[in-house]
Amino acid sequence: MKCFEYMGKEIFARFGILVPQGRMVLTPEDAAKVAAEIGKPVVIKSQVLSGKRGKAGGIKFADTPEEAAQAAAQVLSMTVQGLPVQRILVEEKLKIDAELYVAITIDGAAKAPVVIASAKGGMDIEEQDEADIVKTHLDVFLGLPAFLARDVARKIGLRGNLAKEFSDILSKMYCILNHKDAELVEINPLVISGDHLIAADAKLTIDDSALYRQKDIPFVDEDMTEVEKMAKAAGVGSFVELGGDIAIMANGAGITMGTLDMVQLFGGHPANFMDAGGGTGVEGTAKAISILLAQNPKVIFINIFGGITRCDDVANALAQVKRNIGIPVPVVVRMVGTNEEAGVRILKEVGIDAYRDMKTAAQMAVALAKRGEGA
């Protein structure tokens, strides 16, 4: 789960990392109030879960509280990368002498946390020359000892008090990674302002699997569509809207991708990616099917290879939805694996035939969607 910048900065501040003075507000009036409290020129920053806010005009400057209210009103009326701005962060404008980059994330291939730092922070860090980026993998049992932090500071060319502050910030970032179950703690830019380092931005991604033990962090669902939010609430393993007309459910991320690939090969357009997850029972599957229906597709295509997921559970869910609320579009089911015979029998009772072969089923789903177009 990605956190808004203001949430990230609140957590940074709690762990002792220096952030600009400021506050999140929802209205131009409050923006003026905060600007007056700060008593200096301020920055108005849109709070959306998207990079490139500056380029999209989502960051503005103001010298007085009146200007702050005006800028806030402008920013609050915009959308940034399709996301409407509902919150803004008003904070002191920093004197910027230089911009650094620093992040800690998990490198899955190396099975280790990795520190990434560069003396050249700011925009376009992803395109930066490999030689200008320092990467240090950490031993999970040692964590981030102070000597390693000091060495990263040295490698990006910091000296004196700045080096000391940098290694201190790095240690605190590692604490956040650990204590907040973060997958990513990133500061870009980390600003050199006089003799101090200040986190001008805060990017924090919390591990979804660990949210249950991070209850003090508010849930953020901004980058999901309405149907995606429904899917999340229903406990569907993974769901992404794709805009086509064949609603798809499969069990397992790989087979779901494989199903999308095949539907596209045969000329069809998937409405979504839905990995119903492993071992979802009747209730969960019924909810998942109602989410497929919510997309108003021309065809529903369900591709189940039962392992931990049992075919009879999926079939019962389909039968339940068909009996209770009805399914107004053709349903193509491909079903093999655990409890296959029972599943096929249950489907037959509600008038749905099941295919054994994925290719034939995919072809049928595409053909039915095309017929639906002509009707």
Binding site: T105, D139, L184, G254, M262, P270, G337
Partner: protein
């Protein structure tokens, strides 16, 4: 032979009396797995369908020579259960559970590395070798034969292995690495084992977009004497959830479908565009009618 385990291996199940554990215990036993004991705290000393239960893994290991353990443990308790198995000295540990926090996975896989234990998973269907199944893959899909299979995604593997079985081509071992960010084992770990396994005549690799595990595998495939057929899911998928700057800096353009196909093809692997093509390619390689 097959890799890691076979029908003679003594298997422990942690969480054997739970909903998933009990169901798949019966499936595993029906498959031929030699399940010698189970761990179920609070139920130690009793028998569960003929299998002795113990309070802890340590206690189970005092009564049996355990070769492998399978965990059917809820995510929140998995770190403890996996460490318990590692510290007890078990060398093959299969973790089926999904949604384990990544910080917990880091501890598990790094501790296992230190103690020279092989972790299969987390978030995997497990594995099968000859008459030994550790995990949840459907019994009907697997049949003994000459093909080694290693995969990142579960259901897609059943699809491919099931198709191989349908045309009469069996498998030495089928291993699921799991779909998580920090898997305990890599493609390369398993390719190395298949390369030296005398019964494996060719290897099927089932990958997907994202990460760089397939690119790493390609480097090793260059050195292999056995042919490799690969299938990669996600050709049509929109770019997945990116982690922003830091993720992009680590991956540096790796992880795309095209990049993976290019790396594998250059290494001499045959890349199938769709799952059913895997079977055709394996048939040709083995000279199978």
């Amino acid at each position: 032979m097959a890799i890691l385990v076979d029908e003679a291996s003594n298997v422990l199940i942690q969480g054997i009396t739970g909903k998933q554990g009990s169901f798949h215990f019966r499936q595993m036993r029906a498959f031929g797995t030699n399940v010698v004991s189970g761990v179920a705290p609070g139920k130690g000393g009793s028998l569960y369908e003929g299998v002795p239960l113990y309070e802890t893994v340590q206690e189970a290991c005092e009564h049996h020579a355990i070769d492998a353990t399978v965990l059917f443990i809820p995510a929140a308790f998995c770190k403890d259960a996996a460490l318990e198995a590692i510290e007890a000295g078990i060398k093959v540990i299969v973790i089926i559970t999904e949604h384990i926090p990544v910080q917990d996975e880091l501890i598990i896989v790094n501790r296992a590395k230190l103690k020279e234990a092989v972790i299969i998973g987390p978030n995997t269907f497990g594995m099968a070798s000859w008459k030994c199944k550790l995990g949840i893959l459907p019994n009907v899909a697997f049949s003994p034969g000459p093909v080694g299979v290693v995969a990142r995604s579960g259901t897609l593997t059943y699809e491919i292995v099931g198709s191989l079985t349908n045309v009469g081509i069996g498998q030495t071992s089928v291993v699921g690495l799991g779909g998580d960010r920090v898997p305990g084992s890599s493609f390369v770990d398993m390719l190395k084992r298949f390369e030296v396994d005398p019964d494996t005549k060719c290897v099927v690799l089932v990958g997907e977009i994202g990460g760089n595990a397939e690119e790493e595998a390609a480097e090793f495939i260059k050195t292999m004497s056995k042919p490799v057929v690969a299938y990669l899911a996600g050709k049509s998928a929109p770019p997945g959830k990116r982690m922003g700057h830091a993720g992009a800096i680590i991956e540096r353009g790796k992880g795309t479908y095209e990049g993976k196909v290019k790396a594998l093809t250059a290494a001499g692997a045959q890349v199938a565009t769709f799952p059913y093509e895997v079977v055709e390619k394996v048939q040709t390689l083995l000279g199978h009618p």
